[in-house]
Structures are given as C-alpha cells and as structure tokens.
C-alpha cells in the first residue's frame, strides 16, 4: 500500500472537514494510506507570500521538512497549499541562499530541508499513483445520466512547469474520473477560470460576481452538479449561491472529487460527510 503524509492546510479542517474525511476513506479503498501530520502550520499562501517571501518560504519549508522527518511524500488536498508547497520546493531546490536562510530558521526546531520529498496534489494521486483503470475497477454503483461540471482551481494546475498536474488550459483529470464513474462530464464557458474565492477578503462584490458568472455558465450547460478539487473553490462555489446576488434559481450541488467518487465505490454517505454539504447533493447521488 502506498503511503503519503496528508497536509490538510488550514481551511479544510475548519470549514470543510468532510473533504478530509472523504479523501481518507476513498484513497484507503484505492490502496493509498494517508498519515496525518502533527503540529504543522499554515503554508503561507498569498497572505504571507505577499508580505515576505522568506517568511513564506520558511512556512512552507517547515511543512516540507516535517514530511522529510516522516520520510513520506506529501499529499496536499487544497489548491493553494499544493501550489505553495510546490512553488517553495522549487525555490528551495534552485536557490541555495534561500535554502540556507530557511534552514537556519528551521534549525531552532531541529528540522532541516534537504529536498527529498515530493509534493502531490490529489489529482496527481488519482492520475499517477492509482490510475483510471483501478478507479474504474473500484466502481460498484456507477452513476447514470448525471451531468457534472468539473472545476479544477487555479493553483492546482498553474504554473504548469512547477506543479506538473494537468494542462492548465485544457485539464482532463476530473472529467476523466467523472466519466470513469459513469457520469457525463460537461464542458462550459470559462471552465479554467478562477472561482473568485481569493477576492472575498478584498472585494466581496467582485468575488461574488466572478463566482456567480461561473455558476451561470455551468447552469447554461444544464449540469446537475459541480465537482471540485480544491477546498477554497468548493466553499466559494457553494457560498456564492446563497448570497444576495444569487437570485432564486435552484442551487447546484457542489461535491469534492472524493465525495463524488465515494458513493460510486460503495462507501456510505456518513464516512464521506455528505450530510455536511450545504447544498444537498441527493439529486445526484440518487441517480446510481
């Protein structure tokens, strides 16, 4: 059985615990065991990154160093976290001065970054470590006639030369998995655009506009639901449907990728945290 340390990031445990639960059970069933990380910090994405690059590198560097001490590669399930960890790893591997600086800070705790661990996003685990054939083989209750829109998340696939997940302009991993589980992936305008989430703190109106634009484009394709691979995108695409600007249209359920896959693999809804979803996905899950 393959093993990874699971870096959940800050947002998942607090705002979307079902994502973590679903990832753990689904991957376990597909032969990947996740080991929790203790005493890890925020990756520093965007907020710290915009203030001090060294502090940012030290924060993500610490996570990488802890994974090294556990001798396992990292699975990051949040788009921003996987992006930060990969970007910082890239930095530390190519910039000796920065690495020395970060290691000096880490030495206080007896940690050291040497560059031995890899960082993977959830989509890579499905694509590279498990494979579509194994996913297909694990499907016991395939979906029928459900149309689903994939949302990948900006930091999951960009910048491609550093993250190596999928083609950022024409991503296929979620769509392939949707198909493998018997559902129909639908294309929509602006599929690879941002969800608007990161703008929430600065300009809520703009953030909501971006998010609702996405929902409208998905609705135009008559999709029954949205499948995500980033905690922040999932939260944003859900919350935006409850705002004042949302209107009266019926809400489109948003599912994280493991929550979508789990039921088709015969995993019960409870272990996937389905009841915690703000928009009830029963309409989708009944079509099996």
């Amino acid at each position: 059985m393959k093993e990874f340390v699971l870096y959940t990031g800050c947002t998942t445990p607090v705002r979307l615990p079902a994502y973590e639960a679903a990832v753990t059970v689904v991957l376990e069933k597909l032969g990947v065991r996740l080991i929790p990380m203790k005493d890890v910090n925020c990756c520093g994405a965007q907020y710290i990154e915009s203030l001090s690059h060294t502090a940012f590198a030290a924060m993500s560097g610490r996570i990488l160093a802890i994974a090294e001490s556990m001798d396992r590669d990292i699975l990051a399930i949040c788009g921003a976290c996987s992006g930060s960890l990969k970007a910082v790893k890239h930095d530390l591997d190519s910039n000796k001065v920065l690495r020395a600086e970060v290691n000096e800070l880490l030495a206080d705790e007896g940690l050291k970054y040497t560059g031995t661990v890899e960082v993977k996003h959830l989509l890579q685990i499905f694509n590279e470590d498990i494979g579509y054939d194994a996913i297909k083989a694990a499907i016991v209750k395939p979906y029928h006639g459900v149309r689903l829109a994939a949302h990948y998340g900006c930091h999951v696939t960009r910048p491609p030369e550093i993250v190596h997940v999928d083609d950022p302009e024409n991503p296929v991993i979620i769509d392939t998995i949707i198909e493998a589980a018997g559902a129909t992936p639908v294309d929509y305008v602006g599929k690879t655009r941002c969800c608007g989430g990161p703008m929430l703190a600065m300009d809520e109106e703009v953030a909501n506009k971006i998010g609702l634009d996405k929902i409208k484009n998905i609705r135009d394709e008559k999709a029954d639901g949205i499948v995500t691979a980033c905690v922040f995108c999932d939260i944003q695409l859900t919350q935006v449907q409850f705002g004042d600007m949302a209107g009266d249209e019926p809400k489109i359920p948003v599912l994280t990728l493991p929550q979508f896959l789990g039921p088709a693999m015969g995993i019960n809804f409870d272990s996937l945290g389905i009841q915690l979803n703000k928009i009830d996905p029963q309409a989708i899950l009944q079509e099996m």
Binding site: D167, V189, G190
Partner: protein, 432 residues
C-alpha cells in the same frame, strides 16, 4: 548563353526557392528543384491577396510557376525528398527520393478525367482541409507540374481512373525511386509552418466552428477556394457581419516556446481585415493587437488606410478568451483594451486567429543531413547577421525564404536572388 555543366540543388519550391532556381538557371547553370509536395508554389499559392498592394497572389505567382516549369535548365523534382547529402562545397553528392505519385509525369496531360471518375473524396490540404479533393488529384488548378497524383493512403484501388485515362498515364504499381545528383551548391528554401493555434484552448480554435485561422480565411475568401470566394461562417454558411482578428497567437509568447515576432501577421491581418470589408462593406471588423508592426515599404500607409478609409477598428490588447454564445454560434471576445485600461467583451460572428510562423516540419532532419546549424527557435542558423544573411555555417549551403526566419514575400524573393548569387559564385569556379 553558353551551357554550363555545373549544377545547383534547391530544396523547397516556394517563392524563394523558385526565385533562386530561376536566377541560377538563367545564368546557364543547371538546377534541380526538389519539392516535397506534388506542386511547386508553396504558401504564396494559397494566399488570396498580397500586402500592401492587394495584388492577387495567384496572378503574380502563376507566371513564375510556368517560367520555372518551362525553363530548360531547371529539372523539377516534385513529390520528392532529399535523402543523404555528402561531399563539400563545389562537390556535393545528394540522393533524392522520388516518391511514387502513381501517375507518369511524362504522359499525364492534366486533363482531369481521372479525378472526375474517382469516387473517393478527401479534405484538400491546399484548402486547409475545408474543401475536398479526390484520391487522384491536383491540389489547385495552377498546380505545377500539371500532373495528377494518387493519394495511396486514401485510394481504394477501384481502378476506375485507369479505365478513363486515355494516355495510360496511371500506374498504381509504381514504386519510389532514388536519384543521385552531383551539385556544386545547395540552397535550403524549405519555408515555414503555421503555429498550431489549438494549443491555445482559451481562444476556442478547434472547439468553436466560427473560430478559424488566417490561412483558412485566405482560402475562404479566395475565388478558387472551397466557398468560391464567399466569405461565410463554417457553422451555418451565413455572412458574418462582425469579424474579429486576434494577433500574436503563437508569436511573442515565451510560454509556448515562440518568443520571436513572426513579422508578417500584423500586415496579413490588416490585409485580411481590409479584404473582409471589400467583401462586405457594411461589416464591422476589429483587430486585437499587441502593437502594430508596419515596418516595410508602404506598410504604415496601408495600416492608416485600413483605419481611415476602411474603418477597421483596432484595439490594443492581447485577447484573454473567446467564448461561444448559446445557440447562435456567435463569439464573445474578452480583451483588456490597454489604451483605456478597460476589460471589454465584444461580440463577433466570426473570429480569425492570426497564427505565428514556425520552422517547417522536418527542419531538424534536414539540418542534420546538411550538417547546418539551427537557432534555438529551430530555424537555420545564418553565418553572420550583417554580411551573411543567406550563408549557413556550411560552405556551399545557402538559405533563403522563411527557412532562416519569418519573411514576407518581397524579402523571400530578395533572399532567393541573393542565395542564387552566392551559389553561382561557387558554380562559376568550375568543379562539378
């Protein structure tokens, strides 16, 4: 003029290679002109009009095609490829593979009886796969030599063409042949390819029917093209009332490995914008550009004319995304107008992407055979930026046209003549 026994090889039968061939042959030397496709003419034959004079491209090219075909010192080796190259300046041995065209060149009169009878229809490469040709075909009416070719990959061996050919020119059992040439100089004139714009999924090419690229536009507006010159949308055959041209796609983009400017896209797009308005004076035509590079003779004036007399609207900004409207097939272009710093959404019936120019397919193989160097961008490395623009790093091997970098037609012709001059200096010294 005295006949000379020295010979030159020219690889590539586009306008640059043709010019080089004519200039060498007219000095009494022998020329072998090798062309990969069944006809000479190259890209210029596909273009509808030229810039900045709006000449009919075929009208100025066709006399050249005939001149090359009828020149007694030029041996035309179409549907052929260069195999091995050995030797040195003044004394090259070149093996040429003559692909079987399954029609005897000396017997075929180009009457077309065979194609009329052929039951197989295939998208025509010459029309950018928009029109159709038969499995026995000439790509275009002025194809030179005017000899048919059987596309064996698609031929069903029904033999109907054999029955109607009155000159018994068709031989479906024909085999590839090799030919050994002894030449004093070689000119590489292998031209260019267009960047594959489907590598920009956000611009919708290959995804939305009404997003086409510039070479497809050339064929659509061409009277001999698949729509007989009617400018229509591919989705529903309707006349477009609003057309947007998108510049710098597959050019000046480090991320796609094409950091350089393709030099011709600004002008060919302004020309195409003007041509669209020549077809439909009431249409609205927009050009989205990074900056307009109208550097050549008469170019800036042409650009001004497009703006002032024709009313082409120019928006400075690189297009972010092209979206297709629901059910209409119309397209919405999202662009930041960098002159007003506003993001704009502009609807069009048709979008034409202007692809950049990249080295021709097989350039690396060719360069390896010849022993010539390539630049980081994949073009032929020239010997000296100022005093050797048509010299390669190998003595006796010269380069012209787009093989060493993007060029417009006049520059390609100049380079062809220049390469011919350098080649004949070697030939004049005797040797072969």
């Amino acid at each position: 003029m005295t006949e000379k026994k020295q010979a030159a090889l020219i690889v590539g039968g586009g306008v640059a290679g043709m010019q080089a061939a004519l200039d060498i042959a007219s000095q009494g030397f022998k020329v072998y002109l090798v062309e990969r496709t069944p006809s000479i003419g190259g890209r210029m034959a596909q273009i509808d009009k030229t810039f900045p004079t709006l000449d009919c491209s075929a009208c100025i090219l066709t006399p050249k095609l005939s001149e090359v075909a009828h020149h007694k010192n030029i041996t035309l080796l179409t549907y052929s490829e260069v195999g091995t190259v050995t030797g040195k300046s003044g004394d090259f041995r070149v093996r040429v593979r003559r692909k079987a065209r399954f029609v005897k060149e000396d017997l075929c009169a180009g009457c077309g009886d065979c194609a009329a009878e052929c039951p197989v229809e295939i998208p025509n490469e010459f029309d950018m796969n928009l029109g159709f040709r038969k499995a026995i075909y000439v790509g275009f009416p002025q194809a030179t030599p005017n000899v048919y070719t059987v596309d064996k990959e698609n031929c069903i061996d029904c033999g109907r063409c054999l029955k109607v050919c009155q000159r018994n020119a068709i031989d479906l059992e024909m085999k590839d042949k090799t030919m050994d040439l002894h030449v004093g100089a070689i000119i590489v004139a292998t031209g260019f390819e267009l960047f594959d714009v489907s590598q920009y999924p956000r611009l919708g090419y290959g995804h939305y029917a009404n997003v086409i690229h510039a070479m497809e536009f050339e064929r659509i507006i061409n009277a001999a093209g698949p729509t007989h010159g009617h400018l229509v949308r591919l989705s529903d055959g309707k006349k477009p009332h609003s057309i947007g041209f998108i510049q710098c796609v597959g050019a000046r983009d480090v991320q796609k490995g094409v950091p350089y400017c393709s030099r011709v896209c600004c002008m060919y797009s302004i020309k195409n914008a003007v041509m669209a308005l020549e077809h439909y004076p009431d249409a609205e035509v927009w050009v989205y550009y990074a900056d307009i590079r109208a550097f050549g003779k008469g170019f800036e004036e042409f650009y001004e004319m497009a703006k002032k007399r024709f009313g082409v609207k120019f928006v400075r900004g690189r297009v972010a995304e092209v979206m297709e409207g629901k059910n209409t097939g119309n397209l919405v272009v999202k662009v930041e107008d960098t002159e007003s710093s506003k993001v704009r959404l502009i609807e069009h019936d048709m979008v034409v992407i202007s692809p950049g120019v990249i080295p021709s397919e097989g350039m690396h193989t060719m360069a390896t055979k010849m022993g010539i160097e390539q630049t980081d961008d994949g073009y032929v490395q020239i010997d000296h930026s100022f005093f050797g623009p048509i010299l390669t790093k190998v003595p006796g091997v010269f380069v012209c046209g787009c093989a060493d970098g993007p060029k417009d037609i006049p520059d390609s012709v100049s380079a062809g003549s220049a390469a011919a001059m350098k080649a004949t200096i070697i030939l004049s010294k005797g040797g072969v």
